[in-house]
């Protein structure tokens, strides 16, 4: 049995998911879907920053192009510690391709012209 607070809407239902994936405590179908996903394969979008050589700024903000498994988030952030890029960079430029073999790219969320 796993317990979660649903984040689909502001109501915040307290969900219980049993070992067979049955969700209780939800008030709507979206809550059931969320509970199942959280119990089986919780995923998160990762955001962080990397070093950038630029006349204007010191850090470039980045995001994972898709959600990654929750238990991989810390490792990916560590892996970004050693990444350094140079301006110019545009929003959506790929900074790390297929990070840690997860099939997800790390992309820029800001344009830095020089």
């Amino acid at each position: 049995m796993k317990e979660f607070i649903c984040i689909v809407c502001p109501r915040g239902c307290h969900l219980k998911v049993d070992d067979d994936g049955n969700v209780t405590g939800n008030s709507c179908i979206r809550g059931e879907k969320y509970g199942k996903q959280e119990a089986i394969d919780p995923r998160r979008t990762l955001t962080s920053t990397v070093k950038i050589k630029s006349e204007l700024v010191r850090r470039l903000p980045v995001v994972s192009s898709e959600e990654i498994p929750k238990d991989k988030v810390k490792e990916v952030v560590r892996c970004l510690d050693s990444v350094e890029v140079s301006a110019p960079i545009k929003v959506k430029d790929v900074i790390v391709k297929n990070v840690m073999g997860l099939g997800v790219d790390i992309v820029a969320t800001r344009t830095i012209e020089k």
């Binding site: 607070i5 649903c6 984040i7 955001t47 204007l56 010191r58 903000p61 952030v77 929003v91 969320t109």
Partner: protein, 417 residues
Amino acid sequence: MKEYDLVVVGGGSAGLAASIAAYEDGVKSILLLEKEKFLGGILLQCIHNGFGLHEFNEQLAGPEYAQRFVDKFMSYGIEYKVDTMVLGINEDKSIIYSNKEDGYSIVKAKAIIMSTGCSERTRGAIAIPGSRPSGILTAGLAQRYLNIDGYLVGKRVFILGSGDIGLIMARRMTLEGAKVLGVAELMPYSNGLNRNIVQCLHDFDIPLYLSHTVSNIIGKDHLEKIVVSKVDDKMNFIEGSEMEFEVDTLLLSVGLLPSNVLLEDMGMEMSSTRGPKVNEMMETCKEGIFACGNSLHVHDLVDFVTKEGREAGKGASRYLKGLVTRNEECLECVAGDGISYVIPQYVHVSNVDDNVEFKFRVRSPMENKKIVIKINDQVIKSVVKLHLLPAEMETVVVKKGEFTSNNGKLVIEVEER
């Protein structure tokens, strides 16, 4: 003296949306003044995602959300100055500013939009007892140091206040290698969004202590230890409930205050939100001066800031084109039972284009209630709400035809179903 139709003070989400809306509505002579080195405002340091669900129907990181508006603003070739501080605004709508290139300068405007944002409440605002070592700073400042400048401000952290910035920083500092020992919230409920409680605290097993606050700060030069105590329903420390945490950093996420020094200097009276009172087109009590965004009232979602900026931009454009219908008749809009504030505070029904979107917050968490809008004690609209939280701004739209009177009092209140 150089003259513009419209001068916008502040180049964050509100100011960018306002400038763009005014430009698209036909105002071409616009100058935007921004104190930081970049346009985009506070979003540039909010690198987490979740912005833009209402505006773009997708989740963007803060800088990316800002970039979309900066790109549009630039594509219109609207004039702007960064690294520029506005020092004062005169009655004749001349604006005094200074920057490295122009020195001390004055420009004249026919209309002004104030989108100056808000600032964080500090230790002084909440009077925490104890000594005054270094290592105590607001969560937003720590966010700036980390995300813009690349400095982690501490290794063992405690956070006071469950506001969203504090929760976001709990996750961010944890991911960057700090140990966050806990978050204390004075109220019996959290002030942050549910999503942030789950994804920033639960994901990292960071405890949230409700009805708790910091009762003592210990440290000679640098912070060494804090004492956290439970509070009773009168907010007094409960003796014997003390917990000690050895930390080098205390982050404060204890609320935001609209920044309106420029308007206050003009003698403008502030409302309970600490922002100016505005009418149906976001115009303040001074004709031709508009306000929007977090300097009007603190928003929880940037999407709503953008929307409000747009309203102010359109309002300024209407004003500049001479399309505003003004007469003496006006509804005064006030917060009734269970509501902490209502925006706008005034509605000139004759000047309403299509409808008015009233924005308000409830005073405490509530379930299964009715939001009722009354004009001169007569109910004109009522909406059922299953869940109401002070942390989530509510809106109700009233169509022009639904206003039953042009003057008197409009009250928004919470009633039992």
